[in-house]
Symmetry: C2
Subunit: 173 residues, 2 copies
DNA sequence: TTTTATTTTCAATTTTTATTGAAAGTTTAA
DNA sequence: TTAAACTTTCAATAAAAATTGAAAATAAAA
């Protein structure tokens, strides 16, 4: 397989993976393109290679910069902006984990905290109220666990991630 | 807060969380409703409580059954079907992890394997080809890691999950 | 300042995804 | 069998999300 075709397949696959995880296909594809490009790309480079509009590129590179996984690169004597992706995949994973925790885990934990305060009322049987409280408590425990696990992974340095964590797993895992 | 309002907020929050993770809002809401319902619910119960059509309920409970997190319950002397959610949140997480690995991790690993076979060609510089191969290799390593981590979590029993894994994390993590 | 290059915004449009509802299908009971 | 109760399917429709493209904004150069 030649490089062009391989890149194309990677961009397609990354886009599909992204959309399964709630990231827009195009945003994932812009990320994929930057990941497999040696230098930084201009808006026009991205427009050309992915066949999408200027506005679309702009929106998506900014979103990727919000995630911290794409950086703007300014070149002396060049007016336009160039974009490049963080190439260290472990760091990419860490940054994504961090953002998803902030954007998704924290809000649901807040909701769980609020609704765990449910009070007994004549409209519901004690059994119903108790079952609800227990379920929410279990979900809170799990969310706390996920939150702590995320903290550990985020704080941990790469070495820990690749060695200590690996040791956890059986060789034939 | 009263039970009804708490349930409503949970269903809403779970739906929002789901859509951030690539699960349709309604599917997540059906799941949430079943999670906080004491007994099993009929199609009509779900239609009424979520204000959605019969076809929509049918589609979504079947999808949830495909994920293994909702079961059909048959009652003697009753012709209609009732549905109930797996209530053990750890098991829910395990089943979801298992399915997502199968549906999303495996396909991207297959793509990575294919494109890692990229061959040198006159159309690309050696530097470009090498950079690509290196990047794909790094992603493959990371995917292997994720795959093994998933295997370990899936195979592990609940006790391991809650104790051994917890020990990994610092108390102040 | 004025011009030019470039980025950003956003209303209109297109595309994708979800939903409906009624017909067809299935199962059980009479 | 036939009828009744219920489930499933799917074409049509609605809703949501993504995309465009051109105008407005911004920044640099002349």
């Amino acid at each position: 397989m030649q490089l062009d075709e391989a890149k194309r397949k990677f961009i397609e696959g990354w886009g599909t993976l992204g959309s399964a995880w709630g990231v827009s296909r195009t945003m994932a594809q812009v990320h994929a393109l930057l990941l497999v490009s040696v230098g930084a790309l201009s808006t026009e480079d991205i427009m050309d290679q992915l066949q999408i509009s200027r506005g679309n590129v702009n929106m998506n590179v900014r979103a990727l910069m919000d995630w911290g996984i794409v950086r703007k690169e300014l070149r002396p004597g060049e007016r336009r902006e160039f974009f490049s992706a963080e190439k260290d995949i472990h760091r990419v994973a860490t940054l994504i984990l961090q953002e998803r925790r902030r954007r998704e885990l924290e809000p649901i934990m807040r909701v769980l905290g609020e609704i765990s305060q449910v009070e007994p009322s004549p409209a519901a049987t004690a059994e119903e109220t108790e079952a609800f409280t227990k379920m929410i408590g279990n979900i809170q425990n799990f969310a706390d666990f996920a939150n702590r696990a995320a903290s550990t992974l985020i704080k941990a340095d790469e070495n820990w991630f690749l060695s200590t964590f690996m040791k956890l797993m059986r060789p034939n895992g």
